[in-house]
């Protein structure tokens, strides 16, 4: 048909400011999302920078393999023992010891709680217990630290005296147990999600074969959930390694190289706090060593998190 250029239906619209505004809004939002990436870059950049400066003063190998940690550099350079020693091994073993105690304590409790809540508990029990466990998770760590120093440590020391054990009042055991209590709800809620993600069809299949509930859980649900549970345990471990306040308040300051849970040990995070609170001159090896420790902590927890999140994601996709 013959149609001149004037159409009765206008779908071209006006060339509007509208579109430009929309572009601006979209880019602004993109900018906001990039803050998360900028934060990561900021963390990496600042830690790397200071760590690099630290390794100009202290050898990398001495840091990583040195067995002695005493960062007390003297105020005047002519003082005796002004160099200090920066061997991180006792801090790392201390951190691992306390985290291991925490995980050893929290894993069975967290997992069993999760299994009970996900599979056995009635709706009412779940409605009461879950928020209480969440409450446990919501309590600030400074409160746990206070609890450890006030109740757990004296209790353990007293108990030890009764059976003839010498337990330090800043023992790794006290800090580890308290940290374990903090981690229980983390493990239980992550595992609860994982167990709930196991499809109902698997349960039905097992019941259809005449299996009891416990058999179904042990033989079908747990094996199916194992990768997800492993992921949540890794996340919990990363949390334990990075935890600060509990160990600052309940663990020791002296860097002992020991595997004895009754002795006092110190951790990476305790040393960071100790080095950076109080008077500090910024370019000293002592201050810079805190950043090197922070860098180390960041890398370790980052690796754990990436692996853990990958496992959990992969696991969840499998049942989507």
């Amino acid at each position: 048909m013959s149609q001149d250029e004037t159409h009765t239906i206008d779908i071209i619209g006006k060339p509007s400011r509208h579109k430009i505004q929309e572009k601006i809004v979209t880019y602004f939002m993109l900018l906001c999302s990039s803050v998360a990436i900028l934060t990561t870059i900021g963390i990496l950049a600042s830690l790397t920078f200071e760590t690099f400066a630290f390794f100009q003063k202290v050898s990398f190998l001495d840091f990583l393999f040195g067995l002695e940690w005493s960062p007390q550099t003297a105020l005047r350079s002519d003082q005796v023992g002004s160099s200090g020693s920066f061997g991180a091994v006792p801090l790392i073993t201390g951190t691992l010891l306390i985290s291991a105690i925490a995980m050893f304590f929290a894993t069975p409790l967290g997992l069993l709680s999760a299994i009970y809540l996900a599979e056995y508990a009635s709706k009412n029990v779940r409605a009461v217990v879950k928020p209480l466990l969440e409450l446990l998770a919501g309590i600030p760590t400074v409160v746990y630290g206070f609890f450890a120093a006030l109740i757990i440590a004296p209790f353990l020391r007293g108990g030890g005296e009764n059976v003839g054990l010498v337990i330090s009042s800043e023992s790794a055991l006290a800090a580890g147990l308290t940290m374990g209590v903090m981690i229980i709800p983390l493990i239980s809620s992550l595992s609860d999600d994982v167990i709930n993600a196991v499809p109902q069809s698997l349960r039905d299949a097992s019941y259809g074969l005449g299996a009891t509930q416990t058999e179904t859980i042990k033989e079908v649900i747990l094996p199916a959930a194992i990768p997800g549970i492993a992921g949540s345990l890794l996340l919990a471990t990363s949390r334990a390694i990075g935890e600060t306040m509990i160990v600052v308040m309940a663990a020791g300051l002296a860097a002992n190289l020991t595997a004895n849970p009754f002795e006092a040990v110190t951790t990476v995070t305790v040393q960071i706090v100790t080095l950076l609170t109080g008077d500090q001159e910024f370019e000293s090896a002592k201050t810079l060593s805190a950043f090197a420790l922070g860098f180390f902590l960041f890398i370790i927890t980052l690796c754990l998190n990436i692996v853990a999140l990958k496992i959990v994601d992969h696991y969840k996709e499998q049942y989507d």
Partner: protein, 273 residues
């Protein structure tokens, strides 16, 4: 069955059948639609005639909803969806770069399967479209548009005392008429309806059908429906789709009384579906 009496415009039909009278407002030519690698529509050729109701029927997954959503480029929202070929509205290619989808969707409105009023007041539901398109500079005019749209959608009597109440509080049928009122408030030329009655009871359905027949005076309506009775009752033209192909298109009376294709015959007699 309605016999078609259309204002006979000059010979605008260049395709398929000389029997159909009326001015063609949309022409789809050689339209293919893909979702990722999967092709959903094959070489679609179809004309939509002004001020008439065109039904798109066919079994589930036949591509009728996909085609409907091509007409106002709702498929743009799906990132994997790709449309080739040409669709012209009033002799303008709707995929042309200078076309503003926003303006297109104002001219080609849509009513969805499930009533989806905004969780706002009835008034705001209707007023939203005119507001974003800057159609009504004053509050008085906006009030008029709201009233007119509700009247046209046959909802005014039921809604006039509760304009400030949430639209979600209406019954299902009323909600769907509210959605129709919302669509016509922006004064579209074409209204696309995607199974508008499938979530409604028979009485509400009858009301909507009655409404569609009235709206035809003013708008061109394309409706996807699962109900052949509904297609027969309300439409002047019917297109039958099967597995991504347009099998048959013609006047509704002809399609239902004398289908030319065997598949159409089988479908309307209930052998495939």
């Amino acid at each position: 069955m309605n016999s078609v009496v259309m204002p006979n415009e000059l010979g605008t039909t260049d395709y398929q059948t000389e029997l159909i009278a009326g001015k063609s407002i949309i022409q789809a030519r050689d339209v293919d639609v893909f979702y990722g690698d999967k092709q959903a529509l094959f070489g679609m050729e179809l004309d939509i005639y002004e001020n008439s109701v065109t039904s798109l029927i066919g079994p589930s997954g036949c591509g009728k909803s996909t085609l409907l959503r091509c007409f106002n480029r709702m498929n743009d929202v799906i990132s994997t969806c790709r449309v080739t070929g040409s669709i012209e509205l009033d002799s303008q290619d709707i995929h042309a770069p200078e076309v503003d989808v926003v303006a297109l969707r104002q001219k080609v409105g849509m009513v969805f399967q499930k009533p989806n009023p905004f969780p706002k007041s009835i008034y705001d539901n209707i007023a939203y479209g005119p507001r974003i398109h800057n159609m009504t500079p004053s509050k008085v005019e906006l009030d008029e548009v709201v009233e007119k749209s509700l009247k046209r959608a046959g909802l005014w009597e039921e809604a006039k005392d509760r304009l400030d109440k949430p639209g979600t509080g209406l019954s299902g049928g009323q909600q769907q008429r509210l959605c129709i009122a919302r669509a016509i408030a922006v004064e579209p030329k074409v209204i696309l309806m995607d199974e508008p009655c499938s979530a409604l009871d028979p009485i509400a359905t009858a009301k909507i059908e009655e409404l569609i027949d009235e709206l035809r005076q003013r708008f061109t309506i394309i409706i996807v429906t699962h109900s052949m009775q509904q297609a027969a009752r309300i439409s002047q033209h019917t297109a039958f789709f099967h597995m991504g192909y347009l099998v048959e298109f013609g006047e509704t009376g002809d399609i239902f009384s004398a289908p030319k294709d065997e598949r159409t015959q089988n479908y309307i007699t209930g052998r495939i579906g």
